[in-house]
């Protein structure tokens, strides 16, 4: 099955981002395709390379970047990012900034949209 994933919460403070990541890993392991991940609301904070968590903790933006390196389309919403000071040059590699129209396309081209938020 082809899946799109929408992440609405930021890293660390809420579980939504971790749940989304674990869900994607499980889906990939089962042979599903991830059409893309769209970060919206505070979800845009997931993709900043400025985060530097303690070494014994998971590095959330690095994990997303690694998924992007696998060819999964990782998109941060431009309007939500502008509100929160997230711009192209603070993003981890393999993540890009684009508009809500990309979410519409992801939905159109996927069998399911799975939303992770509060």
């Amino acid at each position: 099955m082809k899946l799109a994933v929408l992440v609405l919460e930021g890293p660390y403070n809420h579980e939504a981002s971790d749940s989304a990541y674990q869900f994607i890993q499980a889906a990939l392991a089962k042979g599903h395709t991830i059409r893309g991940v769209f970060f919206y609301d505070d979800g845009v904070y997931n993709a900043t390379k400025l985060m530097d968590p303690p070494q014994d903790d998971r590095h959330i933006s690095k994990r997303w970047s690694e998924l992007g390196a696998k060819g999964i389309d990782m998109i941060v919403c431009v309007a939500a990012a502008k509100r929160r000071g997230i711009v192209e040059n603070v993003l981890v590699p393999n993540v890009r900034i684009s508009g809500l129209g990309q979410l519409a396309s992801m939905i159109d081209e996927s069998d399911r949209l799975v939303t992770f938020g509060d």
Binding site: Y40, A79, G99, L100, G101, L103, A104, I107, D108
Partner: protein, 133 residues
């Protein structure tokens, strides 16, 4: 334009102003309405509180979104529904919710259509995707 393509529903389930969920949900409605999809919007659970008239966010120091909600129809977001049970649980009268636009011919206010939970569930079952805020 709206009215074609796959069925996509945006749901608003959270209380207004305490988080940005409702506001950024409305932004999704506005953008999606310009795409090739059969868009519907449903207010339910605490999301129905967004439809109460007379909300003023000045004291909160935030812009708020009441003007946007009042203009949904102008943005071609026309299939807008509200859950009857959610209204009832919160003591909001069915005819006491805000209008989301005006009928161009009669100038009468257009309000979200009140539906029973079972009807909304049936609509949900027909969707290609549901985007939940």
């Amino acid at each position: 334009m709206a009215g074609k393509g796959k069925k996509v529903m945006v749901t608003v389930r959270k209380a207004p102003h305490g988080s940005i969920y409702v506001q950024e949900g409305i932004e999704v409605m506005f953008i999606f309405a310009t795409y090739d999809m059969d868009l519907s919007v449903v207010f339910l659970d605490d999301g129905v509180l967004a439809l109460q008239p007379g909300q003023d966010t000045k004291g909160l120091g935030i812009k708020g979104f009441m003007a946007s909600l009042g203009a949904l129809v102008d943005w071609e977001v026309t299939n807008v529904y509200v859950d009857r049970q959610s209204l009832k649980e919160r003591n909001i009268a069915e005819d006491g919710i805000i209008s989301i636009g005006k009928n161009e011919d009669t100038d009468e206010p257009i309000r979200p259509k009140v539906l029973d939970s079972a009807d909304i569930a049936a609509m949900m079952a027909q969707q290609h995707s549901i985007v939940s805020f």
